[in-house]
Amino acid sequence: MAMIQSSPVSPPAPIELTPELTRKRRSQFEIIRDRFLRNKAALVGLIVLTLMVLAAIFAPLIDPHDPNAYNIALQTAPPSAQFPLGNDDLGRDELARLLYGARTSLLIGVTSMLVMLVVGVTFGAAAGFFGGWVDAVLMRITDAFLAIPYLIWLFTVGAIFSDGSVKSIVILIAVFSWANAARIVRGEFLALKEREFLLAARTLGASDLRLIFRHILPNAIGPITVIATLYVGFNIISESILSFFGFGLQPPTSSWGTMLNNSDAYITSDPLLVWAPGIAILITVLCVNLIGDGLRDALDPYMTER
């Protein structure tokens, strides 16, 4: 058994503060941001999406015509100087309808995502964190929602209950998509619950609430953000499918989906009416997906640079 010598310990020599030691470290946010920005596809997606949003916001400046002003004389007219994209089946300005429709579609996409996220994360977090009977009950409810395909639910409930307003569509989409989000969030919480840092925090006496908000949630933000982004695109498509089949928005509210519904009959005589909103949806969702994938790659701690 070694004898512990008590020898006077002199204070350590002062450390020389070299530039290497004092340079500013990048924060986690900055690291992720830089990784995201290096992803060219995601960058392109971000730029294009921003342009689209700006176009939607500044629609009246880009095209001064009223999107709802119809003029039977100009029915399905081809593009002209005054109407760059021509006119639709009621003589309305196609470009204006596209720009204002962007507002509706984007608004529905984002709003329904936010509502869905709030409900889904709450359910998923509660189920994942508390486990036991809370988990069982919440999962049973979620299973009931997942028993039939999401689109079938949308069609059925949309056809029966919807009054064609933006609000009811937003609620409709949110109500039937939160189940999937809840399930994913629950998975994240279950996985994070077992990690050591949580055990450490719990041992230090942290309350449940503190554990959730201070420890687990910040770590789950990554996958949640990715889900949120991807669901914006998914919801835009859902709304357009609903409106296309007549179960979604009703006139006078219009979106890209309703534009497709109207133009379906004119697919042979004036295909531009079909292509315009369709391409718009495609580009928007593509951008959103690129951004979402870029975020996922940027946030993935195991992703090695290639």
């Binding site: 395909p149 689109l151 056809a159 029966i160 209950f161 695109g233 369709g278 290639r306």
Partner: protein, 321 residues
């Protein structure tokens, strides 16, 4: 294994019951109820009462449900509001068309997805991979019905290569079987192309990542070290093990596949169950809607069950207690 099967079947039936109650309540929860659809709003109240009694609508909900349930267990789903035919006969007339679309579509999607996924994985980061990935991104971002409309416009209307709607154009008599077959086949091309796009995109990406994970495993290295040719390693080990997760994914996606079938049938006027569902929703034909919802739920449950069993067969590590 048998106990597991029985347990799952019981769960499935229970789920079906619960969902049938949910659907039933849903349909009767609308403001105005089935009255709104059934009866001319201008009917004098006395006639309305009489009709309500005739249809059994004046009884308490649980009685109505019980009546409906007992009838259903005898195979009678009631009569369509639209054409007054038994729902079962409406459904029966259309099952074949949907099965045709479904089977051909899924087979096609699976084969192409596996091909593309494997190609992408084997030539990772090459131009081929890049192109396949690009196509997959488009497939995922494209609103499915828009793609169908585009296909219709370009290939059916403009180029005239394929018929634009329906399942067959020839009447059954006066044509050789080969011509009839050709007719059916031509009609299938566009709907199948649209139907399978999304899943080819998703599944090929999935298979690609699955293969990449499998190839990194130690047993693959061992197989090669043993002296097995790359081709043998690929077919005997890599491919098989990559396909297993795909089964689960297909089962999870089954709901989406069913929804895709509904949309495809809507766009191409395909005379199947999906189209029946859509028209029943537009017309608010409740008996048919209810029957279709039950049918869809049952299909999803069965698909999940088959997938679980298949998983147990294919993966020898899984043993059901």
């Amino acid at each position: 294994m048998r106990r597991y099967l029985i347990r799952r079947l019981i769960q499935a039936v229970a789920m079906l019951f619960v969902m049938s109650i949910v659907f039933f309540l849903l349909i009767h929860a609308i403001p105005g109820g089935p009255d709104r659809v059934l009866f001319n709003p201008k009917l004098p109240p006395s006639v309305r009462l009489q009709l309500r009694h005739q249809f059994g609508l004046d009884q308490p909900l649980y009685v109505q449900y019980w009546n409906w349930l007992t009838q259903v267990l005898h195979g009678n789903f009631g009569y369509s509001f639209v054409d007054n035919q038994p729902v079962m006969s409406d459904v029966g007339a259309r099952v074949g068309a949907t099965v045709e679309l479904f089977v051909v579509g899924m087979l096609f999607a699976l084969v192409i997805a596996v091909l593309l996924g494997v190609l992408s994985a084997v030539r990772q980061y090459s131009i081929t991979d890049y192109i396949v990935t690009l196509v997959a991104y488009f497939g995922i971002s494209m609103p499915v019905f828009f793609f169908g409309l585009v296909l219709q416009e370009i290939f059916a209307v403009k180029l005239g290569w394929f018929p634009d709607i329906g399942r067959a154009s020839l009447d059954q008599s006066g044509f050789t079987p080969l011509q009839v077959f050709e007719d059916y086949a031509l009609h299938l091309v566009l709907p199948v192309a649209m139907f399978s796009l999304l899943f080819i995109a998703v599944w090929s990406r999935f298979l690609r990542s699955s293969m990449l994970d499998v190839v990194k495993q130690d047993y693959i290295r061992t197989a090669r070290a043993k002296g097995l040719s790359p081709r043998a390693v690929f077919f005997r080990h890599a491919l098989r093990n990559s396909l297993i997760p795909l089964i689960t994914q297909v089962a999870i996606d089954f709901g989406g596949i069913a929804a895709g079938a509904v949309i495809t049938e809507g766009i191409f006027a395909w005379p199947g169950l999906g189209r029946l569902f859509l028209s029943s929703l537009t017309d608010l034909d409740y008996p048919v809607i209810l029957a279709m919802l039950i049918f869809i739920t049952a299909s999803v449950i069965i698909a999940n069950l088959i997938a679980d069993l298949l998983y147990g067969v294919v993966d020898p590590r899984i043993r059901y207690s």
